[in-house]
């Protein structure tokens, strides 16, 4: 049914996005300047730092999922060679106050106080119970093996339903195991479902998985007792947030805490949380008055890096017999471990699922119920695409099921129900508002790109030959550029605004200091592009500095797909302001009218003729060294700081759609990913190459979730696969080529017009793969709904194993 449309689309030249910033580098695939040092092994990750008197921390961790510490004997450990100190939780609590992961806008959320090192009781396997500091990491680990502990095992809660039933309560003082719950219902919901021609229902499961940053969590804390100051080198996404937290929990004035974040070996949301062992490391530095480093080993990473996405969700969809979606119903249950993670809480992921389910579709009836429960497994919190992969998979799964029941092609069913591109601004039944989305443009582009009709035909032909291919679609919406509505309104001291300082150097070069951090995604590169255009200089004249609370403006950092959209706008405004100040100085020097001048190609030029009149090196020389030659009342300002906070919408939503082509071996249950497509609308594309690579990397993390990744626990709460040999992630041979294309709908909230993109790939990929597998299995009447879709689960669905 799409052939005609497809052809038209292919013939039509792509409408260029309206340029939002005049000229130059924005919109170009400029390679990242900062990548060069990484390519030569000259990066500087935390573990690469060398300090005088540097000591190394290692942690004795609970072997039990839930147990009382009856006796802890540290004497043997203390006598171990090279050991400097050994401390239990009480000793560390003298220097580091506990925290509670709750937010006021998540009404009723509760969690007990959490200490850097457990006191009295451990609540998950891997929780730190004692800290050892030694001259080398190897000596610290040797000493950890000599810590003696006697335990009293306590009842373990690992199953979500058991946790909700509450027969054993993990934190008796809280009354039950429910951390947070939320209900939402639109008026008239029950009537809509009662009158619907068709109601379909299915239950989806998502496996608990984790980010697997190749560089493990790393911190080096250096306390200076003479100044009562703390410098922390940390692999973190949010240096200012951590500065505030170290200040408050270690009782050191904010101005005396400096957090420096150099190269970071992958984050994906893993490195934006407060980790007990990292807080303990900072406390150890204060206690011992010397630099202390802690780098998690891989087992510690699996046991203590935040996990995510353990959900079981029952979903219902109501529609008319002619294929119009009337409403969605969601009942989501998720388990988060024994504590809500500080300071973002572990309630956000489930809350996002409630906010986003059904999101791409024009319907007005929605009922949702969410329960977030405590269990004795590692904690969960925000990992790349927070809640989106769950909401997308269950929405797109039920949409496909409804389409199948109605006998409609999945693409056609989506076309009938996606919110029309001219319906914005639009308020979704969960209460969220969309500024401007482009679902239909993206769908059309995707179908053309993948040659959907042809693929369908090919699928039919291959089926006859016993080859079972499946095509899966997944439309999505994505939260980006969050306003203070995400965390700030709940009382979290997490900045929703970001800043940039742009400074002309005496040589005519430009330095840009930005509060958004670089984690490899290319934030520095896009700031360099935006800054070069905004000031009017060539890109090699711009140097970007990030990741240092001692030098950059204050800001939130890198998370929730906000770096380019928020940080980039701050850079743009600071760069424009500097350009204006440069012109003021040039006008004074040249005795010209400022309005006749502009900055172009590293010089102040005459606007009309383009003639270069004053090189920026001259502007710098005069401004800094010869201001005596300027008019008496004129003060040059060759450094400018600007900030930006999105305010008009709580979130600047983006949208997109993905498609997956798979082949299922119905004898072995193995899934081969043949190809993947993503059409995405992130507004202004600052650097197409970096945007596409963000999407591809994100897609592959989503493919891992769909097919491979799961943190497996025994009923006793023991992690069964805490190594990269047992926990599988996509390797080169597992991944298909990924085709990426864009529709550009810039946000009108900012001059730059950029929306976020870092999480889009991860958000949509699992749903697309699930639908593709189920499409392949359709002739067998089999469906899979529990991720990851392992060969075992597929064979079970096919009835080939029991």
């Amino acid at each position: 049914m799409n052939d005609r449309t497809t052809l038209e689309l292919l013939e039509k030249p792509e409408a260029p996005a309206k340029p939002r910033v005049d000229t130059g580098y924005v919109g170009q695939s400029v390679p990242r300047a900062g990548a060069k040092r990484l390519l030569q092994g000259r990066g500087c990750y935390v573990d690469d730092l060398r300090f005088p008197r540097l000591a190394h921390a290692a942690f004795f961790r609970s072997p039990y999922a839930h147990a009382r510490i009856k006796r802890l004997d540290l004497k043997q450990a203390l006598r171990s060679p090279g050991v400097i100190a050994v401390f239990d939780g009480r000793a560390i609590a003298e220097y580091c106050s506990p925290w509670t992961g709750v937010l006021a806008h998540l009404k009723g959320i509760k969690s007990p106080p959490q200490h850097a090192v457990a006191i009295e009781r451990a609540c998950w396997q891997g929780e730190a119970v004692a800290a050892v500091v030694a001259e080398t990491r190897a000596q610290a680990e040797d000493a950890v093996a000599k810590v003696e502990a006697e335990w009293e095992e306590l009842p373990v809660v690992t199953d979500m339903e058991e946790a909700l039933a509450g027969r054993a309560v993990i934190h008796p003082e809280l009354g039950d195991n429910v951390c947070f719950s939320r209900s939402h219902e639109t008026p008239g919901f029950a009537e809509v479902f009662a009158r619907a021609d068709l109601v379909v229902e299915e239950t989806y499961g998502m496996g608990r998985h984790t980010g697997v940053t190749l560089e493990a969590r790393s911190i080096l804390a250096d306390y200076n007792a003479a100044e009562h100051s703390l410098t922390v080198y940390q692999a973190t996404q949010a240096p200012h947030m951590m500065q505030d937290i170290f200040s408050r929990h270690l009782d050191i004035p904010e101005a005396n805490v400096r957090v420096i974040c150099r190269d970071v070996g992958g984050s994906y949301g893993i490195k934006v949380h407060v980790y007990p062992d990292e807080m303990a490391t900072a406390a150890l530095s204060v206690m011992l008055r010397r630099p202390v480093k802690f780098v998690a080993d891989r087992l510690e990473s699996f046991l203590t890096d935040i996990h995510a996405r353990e959900h079981r969700a029952r979903v219902r969809l109501a529609c008319t017999r002619d294929g119009r979606i009337l409403g969605f119903e969601l009942d989501d249950l998720t388990a988060i471990g024994p504590y809500s993670v500080y300071p973002r809480t572990s309630g956000i992921e489930g809350n996002q699922v409630v906010n986003l389910t059904g999101g791409p579709y024009a319907h007005q009836a929605y009922r949702a119920k969410l329960n977030v429960v405590f269990t004795n497994k590692n904690v969960t919190c925000q990992y790349r695409a927070v809640g989106h992969p769950i909401a997308v998979a269950l929405t797109e799964g039920i949409v496909d099921l409804a389409a199948a029941k109605l006998g409609l092609d999945p693409a056609e069913f989506r076309r009938r129900n996606l919110i029309p591109d001219d319906a914005y601004p639009y308020t979704f039944p969960s209460g969220i508002k969309f500024e401007k989305l482009s679902h239909h443009a993206c769908l059309d582009k995707l179908l053309a790109l993948m040659q959907y009709a042809k693929l369908r035909q090919e699928q039919q032909e291959l089926r006859a030959k016993g080859v079972h291919r499946g095509i899966g679609l997944a439309a999505m919406i994505e939260v980006t550029n969050p306003s203070p509505a995400f965390y700030g309104v709940g009382g979290a001291r997490i900045s929703a605004q970001d800043g940039a300082t742009v400074r002309l150097e005496p040589s005519g070069m430009v330095t840009c200091l930005a509060s958004v951090t670089e984690q490899g995604q290319g934030a520095e590169a896009v700031f360099q592009q935006v800054c070069a255009d905004a000031v009017g200089v060539s890109i090699d004249k711009v140097r970007v500095i990030t990741g240092d609370t001692g030098t950059t403006p204050y800001g939130g950092g890198t998370w929730a797909s906000r770096g380019a959209g928020i940080g980039g706008e701050a850079v743009l405004q600071a760069g424009k302001a500097l350009r204006s100040n440069i012109l003021d100085l040039a006008a004074a020097v040249l005795g010209a009218d400022k309005a006749t001048l502009e900055v172009r190609a590293d010089a102040v030029c005459d606007k009309a003729s383009g003639e270069a009149r004053l090189p920026l090196a001259e502007v710098g020389r005069i401004g800094y060294f010869r201001p005596d030659t300027l008019p008496l009342k004129f003060q040059s300002e060759l450094a400018v700081t600007r900030h930006y906070t999105p305010r008009e919408y709580a979130f600047t939503f983006t949208n997109g759609i993905q498609a997956s082509l798979v082949e299922v071996d119905t004898d072995t249950g193995f899934v081969k990913l043949l190809k993947h497509w993503c059409v995405e609308d992130c507004g202004t594309v600052i650097n197409p190459m970096l945007v596409d690579e963000q999407i591809r990397g994100g897609v592959v993390q989503g493919l891992g979730a769909a097919l491979l990744e799961e943190c497996l626990y025994s009923a006793e709460g023991q992690l069964l696969n805490g190594s990269l040999a047992d926990y599988l992630v996509p390797m080169t041979g597992d991944t298909p080529d990924i085709v990426v294309a864009h529709v550009a709908t810039p946000t009108a909230q900012s001059e730059l017009g950029a929306k976020g993109v870092g999480e889009a790939g991860t958000a949509g990929a699992p749903g697309a793969v699930m639908n593709a597998i189920n499409d392949a299995l359709a002739p067998f009447g089999a469906r899979v709904t529990v991720q990851p879709f392992t060969p075992e689960r597929i064979l079970r669905a096919l009835g080939k194993v029991r």
Binding site: K36, T136, L214, G265, S267, Q519, L724, T732, I738
Partner: protein, 158 residues
């Protein structure tokens, strides 16, 4: 030190003599004893390839090799192979294609790619993917890495 052995390794062309514990891994020797921090530690048991270095011309896992096993042998790391120019083509292609994000896997990826380029000059995409299947990259999704290596191979074949 409880028990130590004297070793002499030639690292990036320079002789390094040290007295070390027999349990010290090559990757820790390079990073801790010599300050060559370009090679990284990630999975610590030979799965991810972040610690890949070259011993007597063959790529090895630095986390599965003991430093004492390399006594008298030649070790090359990303630092040395960058300075010598051996990696230049690959580094340029990786840069142009943005075949890296956080860069943590990159030194290991480059060393594996260097061996691939030398030993499989005719390799196409599938073979490149297979050759790299012992190197984990969590950021890129691999496509740009495959593109970059393919570009180098094609330039050499042309």
């Amino acid at each position: 030190m409880e028990h130590a052995l004297d070793v002499t390794l030639t690292v990036n062309g320079t002789e390094a003599r040290r007295r070390i514990a027999p349990r010290m891994h090559l990757i820790d020797f390079l990073r801790e004893e010599l300050g060559l921090t370009g090679s990284h530690v990630a999975c610590e048991h030979g799965v991810c390839g972040a610690c890949t270095v070259r011993v007597d011309g063959e790529i090895r896992r630095g986390c599965l090799t003991l430093a004492v096993q390399c006594d008298g042998r030649k070790v090359d790391t990303v630092e040395g192979l960058s300075d010598s120019g051996e990696l230049r083509e690959l580094q340029q292609a990786f840069h142009e294609r943005n075949a890296l994000q956080c860069g943590y896997c990159t030194p290991g990826m480059l060393l594996t790619a260097l061996e691939l380029v030398a030993r499989r000059p005719q390799a196409r995409r599938e073979e490149i993917r297979e050759y790299l299947s012992g190197n984990l990259c969590r950021c890129t999704g691999y496509q740009a890495i495959v593109d970059a290596i393919e570009q180098v191979l094609e330039a050499r074949r042309a």
